[in-house]
C-alpha cells in the first residue's frame, strides 16, 4: 500500500514539474523583418503609421489629463507648457501591424517642439528615440478642446509631405537613444516624415507617418 502511494506521489511530482516546463506560455507573432543592408555598413528599416486608423484609443481618461482626438492622445499642461502623448499601432513596410508606438511632444523652448518616440515590437524589442521638430507640433486650442496640427488645413497649406525631424543628430536626423533585445547592441539615427493622403471637407485628414531608421552596431 505504501509502495503504491510513494510511486504515485513521485509520478504526480514529476508530472507537475514536467508540465511546468512545457506549459504553453504566450509567444508573440512575428512577421519577417524588412531590413535593407547598407553598402557602407549598418542597416535601414522603415516603419509606418497610418492616421487616423492606426491611432490607438485607450478607454478612460486619467483625471489630470485632457483627452484629445477621441482618447488616442492625452495632454498635460503645467505653467504655460504642454506635453502630449499620442498612441499608435506600428506597421512594417508590408503594412503588417507589428507593434505599438507612443509619441510624446512638448514645447520646451523656441518655436519648434521636441518629440520623443518609444517603439515596442513585442517579438523583437523596443527603441527609444528623440528629436527636435521642424515646427511646433503641440496641439492647438479649438474652442474648449484641442486639435492636433495634422488635422488642420493651415498645416498642409504649403505641401503634402513634411520632414518633421530637424535634429539633434548631424544632417537633421533624430537620435536613437537605446534599444532592447534585438535592438540592444545597435545605435543610430532616424527621420520622421508626414504625408497627407486625403483631406476631408470637414478639415480632418488621412495620412501616414514614415519612420526611417538607420542602425549600426555599437
Amino acid at each position: 500500500m505504501m509502495r503504491a502511494f510513494l510511486f504515485s506521489f513521485v509520478a504526480g511530482l514529476a508530472l507537475s514539474v514536467g508540465l511546468s516546463s512545457i506549459f504553453p506560455l504566450p509567444d508573440h507573432e512575428r512577421f519577417p523583418s524588412s531590413i535593407e543592408v547598407l553598402n557602407n555598413g549598418g542597416r535601414q528599416e522603415q516603419f509606418l503609421i497610418r492616421w487616423p486608423q492606426d491611432r490607438l484609443a485607450v478607454p478612460g481618461n486619467p483625471g489630470l489629463l485632457t483627452s484629445v482626438a477621441d482618447s488616442t492622445a492625452f495632454l498635460l499642461s503645467a505653467g504655460g507648457s504642454i506635453t502630449i502623448t499620442e498612441l499608435f499601432r506600428l506597421r512594417d513596410v508590408a503594412e503588417n501591424v507589428i507593434g505599438i508606438a507612443a509619441r510624446t511632444t512638448g514645447n520646451r523652448s523656441g518655436t519648434a517642439s521636441q518629440s520623443d518616440w518609444v517603439l515596442l515590437i513585442p517579438s523583437r524589442g523596443s527603441m527609444l528615440m528623440s528629436q527636435r521638430d521642424s515646427a511646433n507640433l503641440t496641439p492647438l486650442r479649438a474652442g474648449d478642446g484641442w486639435m492636433l496640427p495634422a488635422n488642420t488645413r493651415a498645416f498642409w497649406s504649403a505641401g503634402k509631405r513634411y520632414r518633421i525631424t530637424a535634429g539633434p543628430a548631424p544632417g537633421g536626423h533624430g537620435r536613437i537613444l537605446r534599444g532592447t533585445e534585438e535592438f540592444a547592441r545597435l545605435t543610430g539615427s532616424y527621420t520622421e516624415t508626414w504625408e497627407l493622403l486625403n483631406q476631408m471637407s470637414d478639415g480632418t485628414t488621412e495620412g501616414r507617418i514614415l519612420l526611417a531608421t538607420t542602425l549600426r552596431s555599437k
Binding site: 478607454p59 478612460g60 521636441q114 518609444v118 515596442l120 524589442g125
Partner: protein, 212 residues
C-alpha cells in the same frame, strides 16, 4: 483500496510538484536588484489608464484578463500600453508618462521566470523627459496568487503593493537610458512597485541617480 491510495499519492505528488514550481529554487539564485540610495526620488502614480494584456499573473500566463478591450492584432496580443500621471513625492510638477510593455519571450515556469519587458517615457511639461527600460518581475505576484487560489479558490494576488523589479532579468539593463531638456545629464536606475486590489491602478517608481 490500492487505487484510492494511488490516487491520493498522485494528488499529493501533483500538489507538492506545484509547490516546488511556485516556490522555485532557481528563482532564489537569480541576481537581486536593489537601489543603493536611501532616499531615491519617488514618483507616485496618481492616475493611470491602460489597454492590452493585463498587468497580473493570469494575463502573463495567457489565461485572459485583458484591459480596455485588449488588442485584436495578433502581434499585439500580449502587449500593453499605460498612460499615467506621476507625482514627485518631494514636490514639483506632475509628469506625463507612457509605458509600453510586452510579455517576455524568455519566460519559463520551470525556471521561475514570469517577466514583462517595459519601456517608459516620462515627460515634465516645459522641463524635460526621461527614457527608462527595464523588466517587470511578476513571479512574486504569481506566488501570492497561487497561495490565494489554494485558500480562497480565486487565482488573483491579494490587495498589496508588489515590487516589479525584485530580480534582474539576465542580460537586460534596468534604468534610465536617456534624458532630454533640463534633465539631459540625468542617468540612473529605477524600481517599480505595483498596487493590486485598489479601485484605480496604483503604485510608484523610485529613481536613483547614477553615481560614477
Amino acid at each position: 483500496m490500492r487505487i484510492l491510495v494511488a490516487f491520493l499519492g498522485l494528488f499529493a505528488g501533483v500538489l507538492a510538484g506545484a509547490m516546488v514550481v511556485i516556490w522555485n529554487p532557481s528563482e532564489r539564485i537569480e541576481p537581486r536588484f536593489s537601489l543603493q540610495t536611501d532616499e531615491p526620488t519617488r514618483l507616485t502614480i496618481l492616475d493611470s489608464v491602460a489597454r492590452g494584456s493585463g498587468a497580473e499573473p493570469r494575463s502573463l500566463l495567457g489565461l485572459g484578463g485583458d484591459l480596455g478591450g485588449g488588442f485584436s492584432d495578433p502581434a499585439l496580443r500580449y502587449a500593453r500600453v499605460n498612460v499615467t500621471v506621476l507625482k514627485p513625492e518631494q514636490g514639483g510638477a506632475n509628469a506625463l508618462a507612457v509605458k509600453l510593455s510586452a510579455v517576455s519571450m524568455k519566460n519559463t515556469l520551470f525556471r521561475g521566470r514570469l517577466f514583462a519587458n517595459s519601456a517608459w517615457i516620462i515627460d515634465w511639461p516645459g522641463h524635460g523627459s526621461l527614457f527608462l527600460v527595464g523588466s517587470d518581475d511578476y513571479w512574486p505576484m504569481l506566488k501570492d496568487a497561487a497561495w490565494s487560489a489554494l485558500f480562497s479558490g480565486a487565482f488573483a494576488p491579494t490587495p498589496s503593493v508588489f515590487p516589479l523589479t525584485e530580480r534582474l532579468q539576465i542580460g537586460r539593463f534596468q534604468g534610465v537610458v536617456g534624458a532630454t531638456g533640463a534633465l539631459t545629464d540625468f542617468a540612473g536606475r529605477y524600481q517599480e512597485w505595483q498596487e493590486t486590489g485598489g479601485a484605480a491602478p496604483g503604485g510608484y517608481l523610485k529613481l536613483e541617480p547614477h553615481t560614477l
